[in-house]
Every structure is written in C-alpha cells, then in structure tokens.
Amino acid sequence: MPIDPTKSRQLAEHKHDAPLMCCVFDASGRFVIAGGRDRKVVCLDVAAGKTTTLDGHESWTGSVVRAGAELVLTADYAGRVIAWDCTGESPKPRWNIAAHANTIYAMAASADGKLFATGDRDGTIRIWQTNDGQRTHEITGLEHPVYGLAFHPDGKQLVSADRQPKKPRLKLWEFATGNAQRSIDVPQLSAYRRVEDIEWGGIRAITLSADGNTLVACGSNEYSGPACALLFDVATGELKRKLASTLKGSYYSAQFHPQGFLLTSGGDVGKGEFRAWDTSKDESLATVATPGPCTAIDIHPDGTRCVVAQMNGKGSYPDAGTLTLFEWSE
C-alpha cells in the first residue's frame, strides 16, 4: 500500500529507563529491538504494546541490525555481538561472540542477510557469517573509528564511514580482497576545533539507496551545525545534494523508504526530529518534532510504520529513552 510521507501520526510511545541509541524491527515486524546507554537490550512486542529486556551484554549496546528473516544482531561497547532469534514468542540468543577487543561503533547486514559487518574504535572492519557468527574477512588500516557501515546491494562491496579528523572519509571496499575501490573525503561533516584539538564531528551514519547508486552520510555540518545529510553518487563520488535541517545538532540515522523517499533522524539539546525527503529537492517533505534527540529510525517491513529511538531528560543530560511508533496513511 503506498503511503504519503506527509501524513503521519504517532501510534504508541514506550519509555525506557536509559537513553536509547539504536532500534530496529525484526523481519516479521513483530518486535522492535533497541539498545542504548545500559546493558539491557529493549524488546518491544509491537502488537502487545509491551516491552521486556534481554540480558547478555556487559556494556552499552550502540548498534542493532536486522539480518535475514530470523535474526536481529546487537553489538556493544565491549566488542560483543549477540544474535537474537526472533522466530519464537520472544527473542532468544542464538549465538554470542567476542567480535572485537574494543567498542563496536557500527554494524550492517547484507541485503540477503547472510553476512554482517562490524567496525570498531581502532578502524578495524570484520565481516561475519550471520548463521553462525564465524568471521570471513577483515579490513584493517583505517586507523580511525568506524562510525558507519553499509553493504552495497551487489553483495560484493561494503561502504565504511570513519571519523578521521578534519576529513572524515567514506570508503568503498571490495570486501573479499580488502581493496579500497574509492575514497571520498567529507570535510563538511568535520567539526574539528583547534582550541580543544578534538574532532567533534565525523560521519555518524550512512545508508545506501536500494539501487546502490546513492550514498547518504549523516552528521553535523561543521561545528555549528545544522544537522545534515549529504548525498553522494556512488559511481563518481560526487556530492549531489546537502539536505540540511533547521536543527543545530546532528543527524544520527537515515533510511530509504521502499517508495524511494529518505528518512533522516537527529537532534540537538533537548529536542529532535525525523524528516522525510525527496532526494531530488533541498526542502523536506515533512518533519515530525520529538521531545528528545532521535538517535535512530527504522522502517517497518510493511512500509507503513516507523520507529524512532530517543534520548530524553533534562537539558543536555538525558537519563531516559523512548521508542515511539509512527504510522503513515495513504
């Protein structure tokens, strides 16, 4: 059923006692799995409207992806990945691996769900088999934290995003050989401050269009913002468009809807939003404001709903989280 991205309404809101940083529907759309600034993974039974928590992580859970028809993977700041089998009444762990020796900042699954990739603080990227958590490939040498990963639909290439100071990079890899096919500097998403000598920015998330031709990089447009998403032509590396929010903060997540429009989510101190964009235009199609920064967005497999994860709290110190479900109408 085609939906109209300008017509959305909030369906439900579920609170959690820690700020949330990531969320995803499972393949059936029955569950939302989310993680954040605590060790417990949140599981929302969408139809029942109830949340439970899943144990297994020893640190914050910063990444979650849907992998194939059965699994959702969660990754934490201690480098652990847990595969949750979502085919039963409630998600159960299928396997649990120590994937990296340090923080996993990014994770992605291939379109067919057979592979997934993880990226860590030191710039190491690892490719794994989803069914058993066995490692198949490793890419090293980035030397900067990997903040974004996305499999190309061709099944052979992987895009990484890092936070190299002053010039965060997008790199297109042939992951079977570890050869970099293309590297794109993205200084627009750097927020390097000489006073502190610290890179505050970086590419906070990436996503690819279904045809693999357009790459979206999310972040903050330099130090003072605004939150923005940059659209690149994958074939040429050319910057095609900058989608800028009116929020000063950062975009943390983006996802293409099957109908082709792009959703971005982000936020600033004490406020957030998600927007729908026609990627051929500078102006957004629709904006939904949220009370807290939207750290992640995911579209339901049927395309009619989405879920956003938020961090909520007083001023700049969030101490709670929210999963909010929205529905689009025709």
């Binding site: 600034r37 605590d38 640190s59 700041y77 934290p145 000598d197 961090m311 110190y317």
Partner: protein
C-alpha cells in the same frame, strides 16, 4: 609581568647571543649528580574522567559503558582502560575524594598547581624549584613540556611573586629552546666581552634598586649559558630506541621520555601536559584513546625511574584541573566537575598501595575523607621533604608556601 617575558624570551630565543664560557666545573655530570628530591608533574589537561580511570562505577547510571577490573590490591578495582596501572596499583597512591569545587579550566589549572584560589602564588613547579634549590644549580629548576597549540588556559600562573628566576622554561613539541648553538659569526671572545658589559651594566643598574628582578635577569643569562653547554639534555636521539618504543611514539610518551632525561640531568621539577581530556563530546571514545597512551606510558615511566634509581627521590604527581560530570550529556560527553574526582601519586614520599577517600554509588559526591586542593599542595611538599608550614621571604615580605588553612594528608605519606 616583565620578568616573565624577558626570561622566556631569553631562554627561548636569545641564548645564542650569550657567551658560551666554560661552565664545566659548575655543571653536574649525570653520573656524579647526588640524589636530590625531584618532582614530575603529569598534568591531564582538560580534566580526566574519574569514572573511566580511578573511580569506576560500573552498572551505575552515571558509570558509562566501561567495566571495572581488579588490581594488584585485593578488593580494589579501577577502570578497564587502565590495565597496566591495575597491575602496579600497589605502587600507586590514589585519591578518590578530591573536592576542589572548581569546574573551570583557567581557575582549575592555576588552583590545582598552586594549591590556592587567590592568584599570584607560585605554581608547584616554581615552588619546588625554589624550595629544592641548591647553591650550585645552574640549570633551570622548572621545565614545562607541552605540545604546540592555542591552549590558553594551560599556561595560567607560574612563578608568581617568586619572580623570573623560577619561571618554568617551556619546551614545546620536545624542541629545545632556540639558539642554543653559538652563532658562528660570534666569536667566543666577542660573546664573552658582550656578557661582561651586560654584567657591568647590571651592577650599575642595581645600585640603589631592589635586587630581585635584576638578579632574576642575571640568573636567566646564567641558565641560558648552562643550557647552551648542556643542550644534549634535550637530545632524545641519545635515548635508546627501545626506550622510545616502550614510552610510546605518541607525543605524551615522547614528552615523558624527555622529562625523565631532564630530571636525570638535574632539573628539579618537570611538568608534562597531556592534552585532550576535555571530552564534552564522545567522552568514551576520547578516554579510550587518551587512557591507552597514559596507561602504558605511566607504567613505563615508573619502571624506568625505578630502574635508574630515581623513583625513590622523585615524586610523580598525576592530576588535572578537574574531573568530569557524573551525568553523560546528549553528545556522549561528560562536562566539567569539581566536587568529586580523583588523582594519583607515586614515588618519593608517597605511601604506595593506598586508595584514599571514597565516593557515593553514583559518583556524584564524596563519601568520606574529602580532600581540598590546598591539602594536596601541602602533601606534595611534605612528600618531597619540604616543611609545608615554611614561609617565603621575598623582598621583606613573608608568605606561607602553602595555604595555612590546609594541611598535609598523613595517610598519603610514606
């Protein structure tokens, strides 16, 4: 302050104009140098997080993502980002209950080094340079090593009323002061003649005037000449490759290696500034990076000082200008926090294996044995064998070397 300016200018750039007359007899050779109390100040600029280092609160809402690990002291845990320190915890002295009440870089940098809020007092390096001074000292008593960069707040305060003689000589990016080599166009005879004229002018100018600034000016020339003669003390190529490797090739590691070399050469106090702890954003990423440098380098440094027989007479102070907030902000950062944070000591005069003070379950408040910055200053001096109740007598005025309202912490002293 004119004295500061002239001294820094001279030591940084004008030394080449000074005659390199023979000072060999008055310079101590490394091997012949008698043991003396010395200080190494490792200053964590920006404010290190106590949660990610000495006082972890795993599982608490304020605790962050990292775990706590066991240490060589049974029952004591520290943050997992300090695995090397954990193994030598029994050699460290950790204070978990600092309450400086200061959450500002400028004020914190000065106050944590001077032991006072009121301005105008000498910082620790200058004070130690003065208080441990020997009549035959010719090298500067206080050297501050840092990287280049517009870090305005890192250079606040220095010798205060002690004057130019005790200002820190700044070493930027491990480069020695400029012009330590005699210009070829200036013959030794000419340089010596110029210096005689300068001394003569100084003597005339001194008549009927207050002596301090003129004396400081002369000392600067004297020290500059000493540095010209001993410029090899800045030459890290003379250190073994394995030492470069084990200290770490990053700037903090190399700065600490130079600091050890300078202490070995007879400088009383060396300060090394480790930057970029001010993690208002991505605190956990930055602490992974900075702690990895700090952890390995600190343990290497302590081992090295010990191997050289220097640790027993060298106090190592590890402190910053503040701690970081228990609350984690929306950018994943921790902000400034002065009410409840940690620091550490090792070496000369410090009681090893002590973890002093504690904080509540969420690390928001000191639970017991609160420590004020003035107490720390007294403790540093006492550890170095200095009576912290002493007074400076400068130009007829007396000033207590440490805040009379504070006192040393006996539990931290060996």
């Amino acid at each position: 302050m004119p004295q500061q300016f002239s001294r820094r200018e001279l030591l940084a750039g004008a030394a080449g104009a000074i005659a390199a007359t023979s000072l060999g007899a008055s310079l101590r050779a490394d091997t012949a140098m008698p043991s003396r109390k010395q200080l190494m100040l490792l200053f964590m600029s920006g404010g290190k997080s106590q949660f990610e280092t000495w006082d972890p609160k795993p599982g608490a809402k304020t605790g962050g993502p990292f775990r706590a690990i066991s240490t060589s002291i049974p029952g004591v845990q520290i943050g997992e980002l300090l695995p090397h320190c954990a193994k030598i915890m029994h050699r460290l002295t950790v204070v978990r209950s600092v309450n400086s009440g200061i959450a500002d870089h400028f004020q914190g940098h000065y106050a944590l080094q001077s032991g006072r809020i009121a301005t105008g007092y000498p910082v620790l390096g200058s004070a130690v340079a003065k208080l441990l001074e020997r009549p035959d000292d010719v090298l500067p008593g206080y050297v501050s090593i840092r990287r280049d960069g517009p870090k305005a707040y890192t250079d606040v305060g220095d010798a205060g009323f002690l004057g130019a003689k005790y200002e820190g000589v700044r070493i930027v990016n491990n480069q020695p002061p400029a012009n330590l080599i005699q210009p070829s166009a200036v013959s030794p005879a000419l340089a010596e003649a110029v210096d005689r004229i300068r001394q003569s002018s100084d003597e005339r100018f001194r008549l009927g005037r207050e002596d301090g600034p003129i004396h400081g000016y002369g000392t600067t020339f004297h020290q500059a000449r000493a540095l010209m003669q001993r410029r090899e003390i800045f030459d890290l190529s003379k250190e073994a490759p394995k030492d470069h490797e084990r200290y770490g090739k990053h700037e903090f590691g190399q700065h600490c290696l130079l600091a050890r070399r300078l202490l070995q050469s007879g400088v009383s106090c060396v300060k090394v500034t480790h930057f970029d702890w001010d993690a208002h954003q991505d605190n956990f990423y930055w602490h992974q990076i900075r702690c990895a440098e700090f952890d390995r380098t600190l343990v290497t440094l302590l081992d090295d000082l010990s191997e050289h027989g220097m640790l027993e007479h060298t106090l190592v102070v590890i402190v910053g200008e503040m701690g970081r907030t228990p609350q984690i902000n929306n950018l994943g950062g921790r902000d400034h926090w002065g009410r409840c944070w940690s620091m550490a000591l090792a070496g000369c005069g410090a009681k090893p294996g002590v973890v002093y003070g504690s904080t509540n379950d969420t690390g928001t408040e000191v639970k017991d044995n609160p420590v004020k910055l003035g107490d720390l200053f007294h403790t540093y001096l006492r550890a170095l064998g200095i009576d912290s109740r002493m007074k400076y007598e400068i130009n007829g005025q007396t000033n207590p070397v440490a805040d009379p309202a504070a006192k040393p912490i006996d539990a931290l002293l060996a």
